[in-house]
Symmetry: C2
Subunit: 269 residues, 2 copies
Amino acid sequence: MTDTKVYLLDFGTLVLDGYMMFWGRGPSGPFRFPCYGVLVEHKEGRFLFDTGYSKDWFDQNMPGLAQQTELQTVPGQLARIGLRPSDITHVVNSHMHVDHVGGNHLCTQACTLCHKKELESYKQPEIWEAHGYADRTALGTAAPDASPATPEPDDRVQDIVTPRFELLTGDNEIARGVHLFETPGHTPGHYSMMVELAGRRPMLFTGDACYTKRSLEENIIANAHTDVRDAHTSLQRLRDLAEQYDAELFYSHDPDAWRDWKPAPAHYS
Amino acid sequence: MTDTKVYLLDFGTLVLDGYMMFWGRGPSGPFRFPCYGVLVEHKEGRFLFDTGYSKDWFDQNMPGLAQQTELQTVPGQLARIGLRPSDITHVVNSHMHVDHVGGNHLCTQACTLCHKKELESYKQPEIWEAHGYADRTALGTAAPDASPATPEPDDRVQDIVTPRFELLTGDNEIARGVHLFETPGHTPGHYSMMVELAGRRPMLFTGDACYTKRSLEENIIANAHTDVRDAHTSLQRLRDLAEQYDAELFYSHDPDAWRDWKPAPAHYS
């Protein structure tokens, strides 16, 4: 564990109305927020937690929202630290919303880990969940060699699977010191990830269970949610985990916090 | 039943951002909407479904939202048809949010009917429910003769109870042809009301289970909700009830629909 490194990969930004970020609180007006992934270089593998969005899809379907350069993609960010998408051994999705799975299919040698309930929701979303999940077109063209070894009859899934696919339930330590914690509510099968490091406090990546520092402090869940009670319970769980492990919280879409962090090629260890 | 009459009582308007009306859909910008009550003149009693809001409370706590004249109050509206608040035998609350219970305490001879779960939520709201429910100050000064015969130790409740109080569960026919249907999701104990009349289609008052016609047509629940699934189920229930009884839907906060209806002193029968 002592040589584990964590890189924050900059995947660009999106913009939404403040009411879409902070349920029932706003304020109204454009709120531009970062999207990023987390590369965990670990002796047991290279784990990529969330893969950003496809700019092409946003430009075609929701023009004006996405700001992303070529550098702010999975290949672009990995290149900064001398890696290629095919070097990723595991993709881990906090959840399968369109801005978190956009680069999955590029990781042509990886096994995707996600919560069993999350895949179910992705395949058959409730009415109020459908807008968050990507359709085929959100994910670009599937990589030529992305022929799932795990047979999945559903076209929707073909596009986001890497060659292998593993479904999880409950909390999991997916590699020594790399923990997935169930934090549902935003989506049914949402995971937050905590990484223990030799030289600093554990890093607890909230995923969309907590968009920003303000969300935690003022107890504001994401406007997009499937279960109000679960979402509040998960906010509390993040507080409890941070205290239990003396972990530092890394919010998913906080422009202020993002400015204070060290993106790749810098790393945390 | 043949002499039952229904009056729509104009209680003024409020304004909220469009995102607060239409969950996740908006658009942003001020959306001004009517608040109204429904008087059912019935041989078994005078039933008042929802009692509006206290302008004083809004002016003090959320200034700029309320537009309400003296005429647009329970006393003002009842006076237009020759009645006083003390003539009301039953107050029926779709739910206990601040814009639906403001005149309860003025009905000094009435029994309040509400769902058992609704009172529980009012007394001990969840974190995400608290903003919607009135505190003491939202309800004006309790009428001097409003000494509840039903002892309730909780100060919050003293202010909204009429002299008597009756808790309901499940669907209820509270008078012949006057039906309460459970439609939870916006709040835990929400009721919609259907009134059968001799000379026209039944009138189905959705309450906040459906703010507007658009909400129903585009399947948009209120931004304020305690259970996403229940709220969508209740929207569907309203559609099903309307079809089953050939009822006309009366939405709770639809400025366009409101313009087409006949407010008191006119009536439906």
